[in-house]
């Protein structure tokens, strides 16, 4: 899609540099004249929003690391030190902790967008799988970051999650001890989590680079799910069209982010995490952060330890197989009436699991979680493979331009 760059710098210095390292040409072809489908809606702005959030988390995180102490007797008070003593420490900590939540809001919008419009289908399978890898790295990073304040929920959340590995037959126990660097979560664990929490975002940045590269090879999907046929008619150039749309979407997103940071900074957190970690007392009710609740609900729904852990990881791993589980050749849900219904049912199932994950265990919540967990897996393993065979899809537009022009047809004839 990007084609060979015809970029020639205007200044002599620019030309001198470009002939030695053609980086401006790369930027020009990727973000200036890069053709984007002309029918993209605001759901396509989350890629740019996510890039921004990754940078924001790295910047605020590096600042926090200048004041934080990764040692089990000092970690908790060093976070309070950041809140009370460090200049604007409260701001950076709230930006970082709420930033993690906003990062996940954006990534879920991005993933469900891909699901709705079939963005994982050929030729975008590798692009999609790279996205799933980024999501996994995000989960690992967020989990280890949540341990660092060393509050009660940090400690016990870490205990539950690291114990998931003890479910592995034969070597499970040794794996857990190896992860902890001791016989329980302790200073050694905190220290290594700090180290890895600092490392993983840069690995995410690396995979994001591959993700964008793969995107620029195959081109963006679009709300109609038909490929670009004629670059002149079907696309517009990235700048100013996509740039401005992304910037506007980002601005709106940042207003919501700021509202959380300045008005309800602890709304998404857990009050128990303002108690110092105590290895001898488990809080009455352990919950992970909101973005992991659906998976936690699945874990609790399964009465067998090993199966519970397999289902937990399976629920995420299934995403990587989506390009082959969905057998329909039609991408966009716009032209798949039955899929569209199942899609929204699936969204409701995920939200329902999330709610159940936040509740205390009772017979009724366990039963509901089992039902919804079944629905979750059925969507991937039963509905998607069969729908492609039985669903009667609507006729696709001949091209993106046709789809766009058909929409505005009665009111105004195209000017061009």
């Amino acid at each position: 899609m990007s084609g060979s760059s015809t970029y020639v710098p205007k200044s002599a210095v620019g030309r001198w540099f470009e002939s030695r390292l053609p980086i401006m040409g790369l930027v020009h072809s990727s973000f200036i004249v890069y053709p984007v489908p002309r029918n993209l809606n605001y759901m396509w702005t989350f890629g740019a929003i996510l890039s921004f959030m990754l940078v924001a988390q790295i910047v605020t995180g590096v600042v926090l690391a200048m004041h934080y102490t990764p040692e089990s007797t000092l970690a908790f008070s060093s976070v309070e030190h950041i809140m009370r003593d460090v200049n604007y420490g409260w701001l950076f900590r709230y930006l970082h902790s709420n930033g993690a939540s906003m990062f996940f809001v954006a990534v879920y919008m991005h993933i469900f967008r891909g699901l709705y419009y079939g963005s994982y289908k050929a030729p975008r399978e590798v692009l999609w799988i790279l996205g799933v890898i980024i999501y996994l790295l995000m989960i690992a990073t967020a989990f280890m970051g949540y341990v660092l304040p060393w509050g009660q929920m940090s400690f016990w959340g870490a205990t539950v999650i690291t114990n998931l590995f003890s479910a592995i037959p034969l070597v499970g126990k040794s794996v857990s001890i190896w992860l902890w660097g001791g016989y329980a979560i302790d200073n050694a664990t905190l220290n290594r989590f700090f180290s890895l929490h600092y490392l993983l975002p840069f690995m995410i940045a690396g995979v994001v680079g591959l993700h964008v590269w793969a995107l620029h090879v195959v081109g963006q999907n679009n709300p109609d799910g038909v490929e670009v046929k004629n670059v002149e008619r079907d696309t517009v150039i990235f700048t100013p069209y996509a740039t401005l749309k992304d910037a506007f979407g980002l601005a709106v997103f940042l207003i919501v982010y700021a509202w959380f940071v300045f008005y309800i900074p602890n709304y998404l957190g857990d009050a128990d995490n303002y108690n110092n970690a105590n290895p001898l007392v488990t809080p009455a009710h352990i919950v992970p952060e909101w973005y992991l609740l659906p998976f936690y609900a699945i874990l609790r729904a399964i009465p067998n330890k090993l199966m519970g852990v397999i289902c937990l990881f399976g629920a995420i791993a299934l995403l990587a197989f989506l390009p082959w589980l969905d057998t329909s050749p039609v991408k966009s849900a716009k032209y798949r009436p039955v899929f569209r219904v199942f899609f929204w049912v699936f969204v409701a199932v995920c939200l329902g699991l999330g709610w159940l994950g936040s509740q205390e265990v009772s017979d009724s919540t366990t039963l509901a979680a089992r039902l919804l967990a079944f629905c979750y897996f059925a969507f991937f393993l039963i509905v998607l493979p069969l729908l492609g065979l039985f669903e009667k899809t609507k006729p696709l537009p001949a091209s993106i331009a046709d789809a766009v022009l058909a929409k505005g047809a009665p009111a105004a004839q195209p000017a061009e």
């Binding site: 539950v160 690291t162 114990n163 001890i177 992860l179 001791g182 290895p279 488990t282 009465p303 330890k305």
Partner: protein, 172 residues
Amino acid sequence: MSGAAIVDQNRRDFLFLATGAVGAVGVGAVVWPLIDQMNPDASTLALAAIEVDITAIQEGQIVTVKWRGKPVFIRHRTAKEIDEAVNTPISELRDPQTDAERVKKAPWLVVVGICTHLGCVPLGHEGKYDGWLCPCHGSVYDTSGRIRQGPAPLNLEVPEYAFLSDTKVRIG
């Protein structure tokens, strides 16, 4: 000419194999320390045993002590609790063990206070069997620390321990 080419070929093969062999040994020699540095260190291993005075523990009381960073429950069981533990039919158990296999002296139960499901600390004197109830995912243990209900697969672990005297227990 062709003779020289063959000699070259043999020399390259030799260099390839020799370099590869040294490389494989070198990678192995570096990978293992990289993995093993994450295992419990010497200072952690040094704290592996503790001694506890049990004279103050009243009948019916559970005392929690910290061993290897983990809670250990020392429970002074009542006659009723011992009866319940001893008289449970072994066929009802998920992880079959008699009470006698789990204690050294009938009144004293010593178990690691970590739920075998996902590592929470169970609450004493709770649950249907009056043993322990795990608040995290609802596993229920009896007065011998054996799993009776809920997702946990195994009984509460019995640590290595010994009675040094009638009043002193060494754990580890």
